[in-house]
C-alpha cells in the first residue's frame, strides 16, 4: 500500500486528524503553563521572562513552524472531512435522529472548530502578530538580572487587551468551545489511533474530560482575572 493511498483513505484521513489533534493538545499544555505565570502577581516579571525565553529560543521558533503546520493541517483536513462527510447523504431525513444516539458536541466538531478558528484569528491579531511583527506598543520591560535588556511587555498588552468587556466575553466563549471540542476530540483521537482496550479507553475518556475542563478553565480565567483586577 502506497503512503498516498494510506493517508487519503477514510481511516488515514482520520489518523491525520488524531495525530495533529494530539500534537495541538500538547501545545495547549505549554501555552497554558507559560500564561499561568501571570498569577505570580509580580507585575508580569515572571510571565514576560517566560514569554521572552519562548520567543528567543531557536528550538522554540523551529517548533513554532511545526505548530503552525499542525494547526493548518488540522484545519484543512477537518474541513475536507466535514464537507465530504456531509455530502454523503443528499436527501436528509424528515425526522432527525438528534440526540437519540449521540451527543451534540460529537456531532458539532466542525462548528466548534470553526468558532475556534475565528477566535484564533482574533487572538493572533491581539498577541502573536504584535509580538512577532508589528511590535508591542506598551513600554518595554527591563527584566531583572538582564543587564538592562528590554523585552516586549506582553503582560501590559494582555492587561490592555483584557480591559474591554467584549474581548473577555469572546475569549471565555472560545474557551467554552475549546472544552467541548476537547471532550470529544481527546478520546476520539485514541480510538482513531487504534486503542481498542476497554481499560485504556476508560482512562482516555476520563482524562479527556478532566483535561478539557481544566485547560479551558485555566485559559478562561486569564482574561477574567485581568478584567476583574485579580492580578497586579
Amino acid at each position: 500500500m502506497k503512503w498516498s493511498e494510506f493517508f487519503t483513505s477514510s481511516v488515514g484521513k482520520k489518523l491525520v486528524m488524531a495525530l495533529t489533534g494530539l500534537f495541538l493538545i500538547s501545545f495547549l499544555v505549554v501555552h497554558a503553563g507559560i500564561n499561568a505565570c501571570i498569577w505570580a502577581n509580580d507585575n508580569g516579571v515572571m510571565f514576560n521572562t517566560a514569554a521572552h525565553f519562548m520567543g528567543s529560543m531557536v528550538v522554540i521558533r523551529v517548533l513554532e513552524v511545526g505548530l503552525f503546520a499542525g494547526i493548518l493541517i488540522h484545519i484543512i483536513q477537518g474541513y475536507v472531512l466535514e464537507f465530504s462527510n456531509r455530502s454523503r447523504r443528499k436527501t436528509g431525513y424528515t425526522v432527525s435522529l438528534g440526540n437519540k444516539g449521540s451527543r451534540w458536541y460529537s456531532r458539532s466538531m466542525g462548528l466548534l472548530g470553526t468558532i475556534l478558528l475565528l477566535f484564533f484569528i482574533i487572538h493572533w491579531y491581539h498577541f502573536w502578530i504584535p509580538s512577532r511583527f508589528t511590535g508591542v506598543h506598551e513600554t518595554p520591560m527591563v527584566l531583572p538580572n538582564s543587564d538592562g535588556k528590554e523585552v516586549h511587555n506582553l503582560y501590559a498588552l494582555m492587561k490592555e487587551t483584557f480591559s474591554e468587556l467584549w474581548v473577555v466575553i469572546v475569549y471565555v466563549f472560545a474557551c467554552f468551545s475549546l472544552c467541548w471540542h476537547l471532550v470529544h476530540g481527546f478520546q476520539s483521537a485514541f480510538r482513531t489511533i487504534g486503542v481498542s482496550n476497554q481499560r485504556y479507553l476508560v482512562i482516555a475518556r476520563t482524562a479527556g474530560i478532566a483535561f478539557a475542563i481544566i485547560i479551558s478553565t485555566v485559559f478562561a480565567m486569564m482574561p477574567v482575572s485581568m478584567y476583574l483586577g485579580w492580578v497586579e
Partner: protein, 260 residues
C-alpha cells in the same frame, strides 16, 4: 415502551406518514394513511401487511418494503421509524418491533435508509448491494481450513472467541449507516473485520482483508467515522464501537507494515 406493561393487550388507530417513491429516478413524497384496530401484539411489519391489504382492497398501490426472515436475523427490514432506524426499541430489528411500542392515536413517520451509497429503489426499499461488494473485497476466509472439524478441536482463547462471536452477530442491516451523520459504514466493516481477525482461521488474511474492505467502503461512497457513536446506539445487534477501534488498529498495522 411507555408505562404500559408488556402483557397488556389493546388495539389502536394510527396515522402513518410513509415515504412513497415510484422508482430510483423519481422524486418521492410522504403519503398519509390511516390504519384502524391494530393489535398491540402485532409486529410492525404485520401492521404494514394489514395496511397493504387495505390498500389492495381499495385498488391502490401497496407500499414496497424489504423483509425476509421476520425473526431478526436476515437484516432486510430497513425502516427508519420516527427518527430512528428500526424504531424506538433498543437492540431490536423492525420485524421484531411490536406495536405495543405505540399507543392509540399516534402518528408514525416511516422513511427509507438515507445515504447516497444506499439509493432508494422504491418506497422504503433501498439498494444495499454496496455491503455485498465490501464483503466480496475481503470479508471471507479463502485459505483451506480442511474438512469441517469438531467444534472444539481448534483451541481459541475464550475472550477472543466471545468478542468474535459478538461481532459476528452483525446482520448487515445498514442501520449504522442510516443513523450516522456521515453515512459511514465503519461499524458494519469493523464488525466483519473483527469477527475474522480475532479467530485463527481469519488471521492469515487479516492484512489484505482490512485493506481491501476499507478501500471498497471508500469507493462505495460511505463517509468516514467521527465517533459520534450513533451507530452503536441504533444497532439491532448491539455491535460495539470498540470494533471500530480494532479496525483502525488493524488498518494501521496492515497499512504501515505493507511492503509495497
Amino acid at each position: 415502551m411507555e408505562s404500559r406493561s408488556y402483557m397488556e393487550h389493546y388495539s389502536m388507530n394510527l396515522t402513518l406518514k410513509v415515504w412513497k417513491q415510484k422508482n430510483a429516478d423519481s422524486r418521492g413524497n410522504f403519503e398519509t394513511y390511516q390504519v384502524k384496530d391494530i393489535s398491540s401484539e402485532m409486529s410492525f411489519l404485520e401492521m404494514f401487511d394489514v395496511l397493504n391489504e387495505q390498500l389492495i382492497r381499495e385498488g391502490k398501490e401497496p407500499i414496497a418494503f424489504d423483509h425476509d426472515c421476520r425473526e431478526g436475523i436476515c437484516g432486510m427490514c430497513s425502516m427508519y421509524i420516527n427518527g430512528r432506524p428500526h424504531g424506538p426499541w433498543h437492540g431490536t430489528t423492525t420485524c421484531q418491533l411490536h406495536m405495543r411500542a405505540f399507543k392509540d392515536g399516534d402518528t408514525i413517520v416511516v422513511e427509507p435508509w438515507r445515504a447516497n451509497a444506499f439509493p432508494v429503489l422504491k418506497d422504503l426499499v433501498v439498494d444495499r448491494a454496496a455491503f455485498d461488494r465490501i464483503i466480496q473485497a475481503g470479508g471471507y476466509i479463502s485459505v483451506n481450513t480442511g474438512v469441517s472439524v469438531d467444534g472444539n478441536t481448534i483451541p481459541i482463547e475464550r475472550e477472543n472467541s466471545e468478542k468474535a462471536f459478538a461481532a459476528a452477530a452483525c446482520i448487515g442491516c445498514g442501520a449504522c449507516v442510516a443513523a450516522c451523520k456521515n453515512s459511514s459504514a465503519m461499524l458494519f466493516v469493523a464488525a466483519k473485520v473483527s469477527h475474522l481477525a480475532l479467530l485463527p482461521q481469519g488471521d492469515v488474511e487479516r492484512k489484505t482483508r482490512v485493506l481491501g474492505m476499507v478501500a471498497q467502503m471508500d469507493k462505495e461512497g460511505f463517509g468516514s467515522c467521527t465517533f459520534t457513536q450513533a451507530c452503536e446506539a441504533v444497532c439491532p445487534k448491539e455491535i460495539s464501537v470498540m470494533n471500530i477501534s480494532r479496525l483502525n488498529k488493524e488498518y494501521l498495522l496492515a497499512g504501515l507494515s505493507s511492503e509495497k
